[in-house]
């Protein structure tokens, strides 16, 4: 099965805003899955310099918005959608609709992988 990441228009717009704000488009959103949280795995999203790319990374480019995911993490989030949410609870990049996730914890940053 091919590994895919869906990048929502809202995420593209927000990354472009950041590039414009910083006057630097050589930045990428790095998505990492770590062991941890109440359900075993948790997402980490960081804004990083493109130079931090390693041979293990897959580089996504959606209309100029750049996203880096290492191959191990991508296996656990493939098919998910990256969105930028702007809600009362906070404005943040989020991964949603992860088809590999069984259950999630209350705050949504931690998930369990379906066996």
């Amino acid at each position: 099965m091919p590994l895919v990441l869906l990048i929502d228009e809202s995420a593209v717009q927000q990354l472009r805003k950041i590039y414009a704000r910083d006057g630097n488009d050589q930045q990428a959103l790095r998505i990492t899955v770590d062991a941890g949280g109440c359900h075993g795995f948790e997402y980490k999203l960081d804004l990083v310099d493109l130079t931090s790319q390693t041979p293990d990374d897959i580089h996504f480019d959606a209309q100029g918005a750049k996203v880096l995911v290492d191959d191990v993490s991508l296996g656990l989030i493939s098919g998910s959608r990256l969105v930028f949410t702007d809600e009362l609870i906070g404005r943040a990049f989020k991964l949603v609709d992860n088809p590999n996730a069984g259950s999630s914890c209350g705050c949504g940053t931690s998930f369990e992988v379906k066996m």
Binding site: D34, A35, G37, C38, H39, G40, F41, V72, S103, E112
Partner: protein, 339 residues
């Protein structure tokens, strides 16, 4: 009347009948007896090492691994808060981030693959070293230092001071204290005190508090997130633990149930099967049988039935009566069952 008495007897072999009055009860905690030592062949060992090993374990287990300098009891839970495996985790004396994990031999392979799922990019070494080590127990604790370190090579069992000492020794190394007993004797000692471990717990079903992991110092309620923490901490804070694993005596129906816990080694009939439903005097479920040998064992029983010392029956098996006992070593539990 006669008919029902026959029915009650049927599940118990007829050979039992003649020895009703000739029971030789034996106590297995004679305080004057020398401590016993057994090789626990039913235990396996995993070795985990590498930078970040403590942090890795911290997210996966109920006890606090961040500050671990002495051996600790701990549980590995499902995300829904059920116990998959329990283990004693022993930090290396000198090396940081190096641990031995002492778990039921039947669980070692599954525990290893459970942990491997979470390794992701980390370079930790996780190996099954069951063939390279042997686990020994020395019990009961008598108060002397020797009884708590197995002749200098072991450590005090972190679950309960009365459990004595434990040692994980390289397979080639004989313990300095000679082995005196079969592993079964250690199991009977655990049964007497209501201490379940490994395969005694129904993997994927048991709850950590019902399995006494809190009383056995296996849960840190302040450490933060780990797999299965949500249900565990909620149960702790609501304070409702209605059932716990306790010692039981199994007697054939119709015979007097002893009023104290004692092993009858002449018993040859089987105990109820694991997970057999126990029924209270009110006809409602009172818990589940867990494990046993001879006439004794462990069962998960409603605490109100334990307090009353209710004689329980086994659903669908009229041959047995199961009587729960309150472990003497338990700290006073508040009315709602929380320590």
């Amino acid at each position: 009347m006669f008919q029902s008495a026959m029915l009650l007897r049927r599940a118990v072999p007829a050979s039992l009948a003649p020895r009703v009055c000739t029971r030789a009860f034996s106590s297995i905690t004679d305080p004057t007896a020398a401590p016993r030592v057994a090789h626990l062949a039913s235990r396996g060992v995993l070795a985990l090492s590498g930078t970040g090993a403590a942090v890795f374990l911290q997210g996966l287990t109920t006890n606090n691994m961040a500050s671990l300098s002495t051996p600790a009891y701990t549980g590995f839970l499902t995300a829904q808060g059920r116990v998959l495996y329990d283990a004693l985790i022993v930090p290396h004396k000198d090396l940081p981030d190096a641990f031995l994990i002492d778990a039921d031999r039947a669980h070692v392979a599954a525990l290893r693959s459970h942990l491997r799922r979470y390794l992701l990019r980390s370079k930790l070494a996780l190996t099954d070293v069951t063939d390279e080590y042997r686990v020994f127990a020395q019990w009961p604790a008598t108060g002397s230092a020797d009884s708590l370190n197995l002749g200098g090579v072991g450590f005090a069992d972190p679950r309960w001071s009365g459990l004595g000492a434990r040692a994980i020794l390289p397979a080639a190394q004989a313990p300095p204290v000679p082995t005196t007993s079969a592993e079964l004797e250690y199991a009977l000692f655990r049964y007497q005190h209501g201490i379940a471990e490994g395969a005694d717990l129904a993997s994927g079903t048991s709850l950590p508090l019902e399995s006494n992991m809190d009383l056995l110092h296996g849960i840190d309620f302040r450490k933060g997130c780990y797999v299965g923490q949500e249900l565990t901490i909620r149960t702790y804070h609501t304070g409702v633990v209605r059932k716990r694993i306790v010692p039981v005596v199994v007697a054939p129906s119709g015979e007097d149930v002893p009023d104290h816990w004692a092993v009858d080694r002449t018993v040859e009939w089987p105990v109820p099967p694991a997970q057999a439903e126990l029924v209270g005097a009110n006809g409602k479920s009172a818990g589940k049988f867990a494990v046993g040998k001879f006439n004794v064992g462990l069962a998960l029983v409603r605490l109100d039935a334990v307090r009353k010392g209710e004689a329980l029956t086994v659903a669908g098996e009229p041959g047995w009566t199961v009587k729960p006992f309150w472990p003497a070593w338990w700290p006073p539990l508040q009315d709602h069952g929380r320590s």
